[in-house]
Amino acid sequence: MIPGPLIARWVNWRLKLAIISGRRMYYVHHLHQQYGSYVRISPTEVAVSDPEGFIQIHKVASGFTKSIWYTDIVQPERPTLFTMVDAKAHAARRRLMARAFSKTYLRHNWEGIVRDKIRLAVTKMEGESSGMGKMDALKWWTLMTTDVATHLMFGESFHMIEEGKVSANSSH
């Protein structure tokens, strides 16, 4: 019998409650401290915090594949790299993207563009902190990383660092 709270053998309510309140990670961590490296957290789910178990689950060709959670999160009929369960399809898609994401390629083609955005964000941070005596690091990093990501993926920046706020173009 896998250890765990009694309720978890019958219903997933307690786990769902932790998920809804955004505390699943802390709840599961607490259960690990209480019950050990293997905890039954719902009728159909076991949490593992044993390093050996981790390797056994995540090593190549372990027999464990991405759970139904991945197909539930987006359009199931169109899996992407993140949601693909089939190992062969995943490998093929990864091959398509490998070169564009190689260190050499990224440095050669994108280092300058990314660096300009970092400089601009840091200059803006300096400006805000010298004026107000404090600055919102998360705001500026978010604008910066979004500009970088949109430029790399879309081929055009949303120029949110310049505007200093989340622009109408953004999804946030």
């Binding site: 594949t65 359009q75 992407t80």
Partner: protein, 193 residues
């Protein structure tokens, strides 16, 4: 927002099913975010196919795909949208934690600044790879405050398996949360420092 909506949708399908039809703006943003991001992702497709236009990472992917792999515009849109979600907020949150970790440890701040001052005037990304303090700071920030500390749920469908002496029936979801593994004193002595 779109990913939050996706996450909630996966955990509570009924809430998503009803939520997206409720006439309140927050619900629409939360559960309709996927469509919105998809609209934006079409820019990626346009730019990737346009000859001589400003390049993006997908121009490359499409070029590779032309050699005979099955990949259409919708796939490119979805990958682009996915990578924006995966790459922007996560990196911003990790950077914020990194700054906080360094500034709340004055000794570490001094050590890191001393190391960075030794960089040449015109340094590049390659030079940063050799800095031990900087890289330790990055690794430790990711260990304690990585932006995706959750479960990585997996399932074995083709039969049961023994894990740590426990019989796990086929189809059981097993999750291995980084939050706990990264604080395991068997791997990291003094894990909370």
């Amino acid at each position: 927002m779109a990913l939050q909506g996706g996450g909630i949708g996966a955990e509570l399908p009924l809430v998503r099913a009803i939520g997206q039809y409720l006439p309140f703006e927050p619900f629409r943003t939360l559960f309709g975010g996927g469509h919105y991001l998809k609209d934006k992702a079409q820019i990626a497709v346009k730019n990737a196919y346009a000859p001589g236009n400003e390049k993006n990472l997908f121009a490359h992917m499409i070029h590779e795909a032309e050699k005979g792999v099955n990949l259409d515009e919708t796939d490119v849109e979805l990958e682009a949208a996915g990578l924006i979600v995966a790459g922007s907020d996560t990196t911003a949150v990790s950077l914020t934690y990194l700054v906080w970790c360094v500034l709340s440890r004055p000794e570490l701040t001094t050590l890191l600044c001393a190391e960075l001052k030794q960089l040449p005037e015109e340094y590049c990304d390659r030079d940063l790879e050799d800095l031990p303090v900087l890289n330790a700071v990055i690794e430790e920030t990711l260990r304690l405050y990585g932006a995706a500390p959750g479960g990585m749920p997996r399932q074995k469908l083709n039969g049961p398996e023994y894990l740590g002496g426990h019989l796990i029936p086929a189809g059981t979801t097993v999750t291995t949360q980084a939050y706990s593994l990264h604080r395991d004193s068997r791997i990291f002595p003094d894990p909370s420092v």
